[in-house]
């Protein structure tokens, strides 16, 4: 059987054999006008991407497939399995790449032992009757210097000659139909249940690849002689086609004028779109009790894929009529198919956690934000210390999974009230000697323990802490006493323990909007901006998440947030508009 995609741009096209995608390999594929980097992640997912790093255009096929990410060979930019989103830029270890910095991806399916993609918008999946419900074995792909149409005509014509070489001299070839989709059926006399289907992959205007698939049941119990036969038969056919003058050799000078030749890459369409206010619907695919007062939720996409996230990232869960609540992703770098979060039941607060615990069911849909990252993980430290208290384990665990994946040394300390309060215990214990569980320590003992941990750190050790605010304050205090540079201690607050003072009135000047607004007593900058229809993204609205931070061009901000670092606060270049005020009469903001 011979099957040809009439208009290559509108169909699924086979671009590789499944067996080409061996573990940790990146396969170079090609369609007219498009080079492809094709790789299989350790979870089996087949990624088909534009073969080009977003940064300096280096082919990703010379990069490294680490099982969960593809890493560019030039500057080590990492792109995540499934989404193709950039997860790490080594030149700036402290920054978190925008979640929309995403490589161009193409859809992939595996069928009949071949890997298929399409440049069109979801055409119907190929269904070839002779191949359905049979064992299929792909032939060795044979590339030919001739157009798809030429190869197709020659295949039809020359397929009969396979008899002359073949093990089945009495075989017949039946041409089933012709037209844009050509179909031939070949029945082997000796192997009555075997048939052969040819697909042609266009590579260029004048290059194609013949991808044959044998199908049958008993006939393929011993496929090797057949594979050998067709391997040499197709080679011979290629030689015929190429020596018959059917190949067009172009003047290399003029190659850049050929329409099939790639001259300019396709720009990724979505990398500049700001996602901060965009919401996403997901389904609760799993809900399980994780520890005392903690449930774990797995959130799966309803349509398409979830945006990529980096270790330390969080999402907002938005329930109707309630303030958004922030939850860190527990995902490791390989886990891109769903988001995993841990939710502690909080009796105080906006009620999101109580709703999740009491009302939310497996299968329900919820609205979440794109992942945001105020707690990025550097991967340039020789040593990293991770300290988690209670539910603060969630971002810390994601970091540990990442460090472990890229083989960087780390030690994880996890402080919990009791064994029963230990969320994600099995995932933590997977780190074996790198993980230390501290159960049921008093406040004083916790401090002693933290002191001891920090004393062992050398000046190059990066320290990440997440937990309840008193614990974060304590770690910061202890590290200061020990003379550890503030740059090395990274914290994330989920709530702001400060009492917010909205007492002083002042003005803000919006330099880019050319507006002056009065901020009265009792109202935040953010509220006044929103009342005046000025779009500033916001989330927790209590100075913890950092979503509403804007640039200060002039003036003296009075910081009441916990999202900016001490250094950032001293510099006075940024302000969290949801809580912070001004000690000058006027603040000039870059919005």
């Amino acid at each position: 059987m011979l099957y040809l995609n009439g208009d290559a741009s509108k169909e699924w096209i086979p671009v590789a054999s499944g067996t080409d995608l061996v573990p940790r390999h990146v396969f170079h594929g090609r369609l007219p006008g498009q080079e492809l980097a094709i790789w299989r992640a350790d979870d089996g997912f087949v990624n088909i991407w534009q073969n080009r790093c977003l940064h300096r255009g280096v082919r990703l096929t010379i990069g490294t497939n680490d099982g969960a990410q593809l890493r560019c060979q030039y500057h080590g930019w990492c792109y995540a399995n499934r989404t193709g989103s950039c997860t790490y830029i080594p030149a700036h270890p402290g920054d978190s790449p925008a979640p929309t910095l995403t490589n161009r991806t193409f859809p992939s399916i595996e069928k009949y032992g071949l890997v298929w993609t399409t440049l069109a918008d979801q055409p119907p999946v190929p269904a070839i009757e002779a191949l359905e419900n049979h064992v299929t074995v792909p032939l060795r792909a044979v590339s030919v210097n001739a157009s798809m149409q030429t190869v197709c005509n020659q295949l039809q014509h020359r397929a009969k000659r396979f008899d002359e070489f073949g093990p089945a001299n009495d075989s017949q070839i039946e041409v089933m139909s012709s037209g844009p989709m050509h179909v031939e059926v070949r029945q082997f006399a000796d192997l009555p249940d075997a048939s052969l289907t040819f697909f042609i992959q266009p590579v260029d205007e004048d290059r194609s690849v013949i991808r044959g698939v044998l199908s049958g049941d008993q006939a393929l119990a011993e496929p090797l002689p057949l594979l050998r036969f067709f391997s040499s038969a197709l080679n011979e056919m290629r030689d015929h086609i190429e020596s018959d003058g059917l190949t067009v050799f172009r003047d290399t000078e003029k190659i850049s004028d050929c329409p099939g030749k790639i001259t300019k890459p396709v720009k990724p369409s979505n990398y500049l779109r700001a996602p901060s206010t965009q919401m996403l619907k997901v389904r609760v695919s799993k809900k399980r009790q994780e520890a005392y007062g903690v449930v774990a939720l797995e959130l799966s996409p309803i349509k398409g894929m979830l945006p990529g996230a980096q270790p330390g990232a969080h999402i907002d869960i938005c329930l109707p009529g309630k303030h958004a609540a922030q939850y860190s992703l527990v995902n490791g770098p390989a886990e891109t198919g769903r988001y995993l979060i841990g939710v502690k039941r909080e009796e105080a607060g906006g009620g999101v956690s109580r709703h999740i615990h009491d009302e939310l069911q497996q299968g329900d849909e919820v609205e979440i934000s794109f992942p945001k990252n105020r707690f990025p993980l550097r991967r340039d430290a020789v040593n990293t210390v991770l300290i988690a208290g209670g539910i603060g384990i969630t971002p810390i665990l994601s970091m540990a999974k990442t460090l472990s994946h890229v083989n960087l040394d780390f030690v994880l300390h996890y402080f919990v009230r009791s064994e029963g309060h230990t969320a994600f215990a099995s995932e933590v214990s997977a780190f074996e000697q790198n993980a230390n569980l501290h159960v049921g320590l008093s406040v004083g003992h916790t401090q002693d323990q933290v002191s001891e941990i920090l004393e062992k750190c050398d000046p190059t050790t990066q320290i990440y802490v997440c937990g309840p605010p008193p614990m974060l304050d304590m770690v910061q205090c202890v590290s200061k006493e020990q003379g550890i540079s503030e740059k090395m201690v990274h914290t994330e607050y989920f709530e702001n323990p400060n009492t917010i003072d909205l007492g002083i009135a002042f003005r803000v000047v919006l330099s880019r909007s050319n507006k002056v607004l009065a901020i009265p007593q009792g109202k935040t900058i953010l509220q006044v901006l929103q009342e005046n229809d000025i779009d500033v993204p916001s989330s927790c609205e209590q100075g913890a998440c950092g979503t509403c931070v804007v640039k200060v061009l002039l003036g003296n901000p009075v910081h009441q947030d916990v999202c900016l670092t001490e250094i950032e606060k001293q510099q006075g270049n940024w302000i969290a508009t949801c809580v912070s005020r001004s000690s000058s009469d006027e603040l000039i903001l870059d919005i």
Partner: protein, 299 residues
């Protein structure tokens, strides 16, 4: 417009371009072919350090040198200009210091455009990934902010305070150090690097790349070092440089497109690329069309 027409309309037509290391030409030997800006040229070393360069298809009249292209010998290389009014060639003052060793470290043919090769020379971020164990090593991947200035007089780009952790910065280095670089781009297709000298803290070694654009997508990169190093042999200095360039070549040849895109939206730049961003702008504003894909505004 074809490549040759672009070459002729581009500001680089009146630049000096390197063709050969003088030491690679035999005095009084046969003229040697090479290609410059899509045209075949013949280069001949005459006696007393003089050279003659002409277009290969140029018929010679009775006065042998009347039809010659502008040529000169500088920094150990033969330079030529096809255009009628050559611009002044930049200087490297350090080259003339008496105690320096000036070593031609080899010419490398690369299937890439000239500005891609220059940009790679100006880039520190790739050290841990491409020159692993020599100019960089993981996890020390950070490129800290550095300064870039673009001046009119002389018309060049200078990047300073470029710091990078290097396990073996030069052939004479032992052990890892944070090396300081200064980059200078005095010519669209030539760049100079100054780096801390392992033998004399007060001085800096000079490494240069002079790119000969054979065509828009094929170059010969001529490299030279002018260093203070009383110990290493010329051969070991050359081998070190050739190893480094040998690591860059496969990366350069896998860049797509081969020409350098000047539209800022075509490739994502980060803070570490500050000098590359300045270089791209400088090429665009300097009327460089050869080996680049012009941005939307500069058609």
């Amino acid at each position: 417009m074809n490549s040759l027409e672009i070459a002729k309309s581009c500001s680089t037509y009146s630049c000096w371009h390197p063709l050969f290391a003088l030491e690679d030409l035999e005095e009084g030997g046969v003229p040697v072919y090479t290609q410059l800006l899509d045209q075949a040229v013949l280069c001949e070393r005459l006696s007393e350090g003089k050279v003659s360069v002409r277009l290969a298809d140029q018929q010679r009249g009775p006065d042998r040198q009347a039809e010659d292209l502008h040529s000169q010998v500088q920094f150990g290389f033969v330079w030529a200009c096809i255009g009628p009014n050559p611009q002044l060639l930049f200087d490297i003052p350090e080259y003339h210091e008496p105690d320096r060793r000036n070593v031609c470290t080899g010419v490398f043919g690369v299937e890439v455009s000239a500005p891609r090769a220059i940009e790679n020379f100006l880039d520190m971020g790739h050290f841990p990934f491409v020159h692993t164990g020599l100019l960089g090593i993981e996890p020390h991947t950070e490129v800290v902010d550095y300064q870039v200035t673009v001046s009119d007089e002389p018309n060049e780009i200078v990047a300073t305070e470029c710091l990078f952790f290097q396990p073996q910065a030069a052939v004479g280095s032992v052990g890892g150090v944070v090396t300081e670089y200064v980059y200078r781009v005095p010519h669209p297709f030539c760049a100079i690097l100054y780096k801390s000298c392992p033998f004399d803290e007060s001085r800096r070694d000079v490494i240069t790349i002079f790119v000969q654009p054979e065509s828009e997508e094929r170059i010969r990169a001529h490299t030279m070092m002018s260093i203070v190093d009383p110990e290493s042999s010329d051969t070991s200095i050359r081998l070190f440089q050739q190893m480094i360039f040998g690591q860059d070549k496969p990366i350069l040849e896998n860049q797509f497109p081969k020409k350098l895109p000047l539209d800022p939206l075509d490739e994502i730049s980060i803070r570490a690329d500050r000098v590359a961003v300045a270089y791209r702008k400088w090429l665009a504003s300097g009327g460089v069309r050869y080996g680049v894909i012009p941005g939307a505004q500069a058609t």
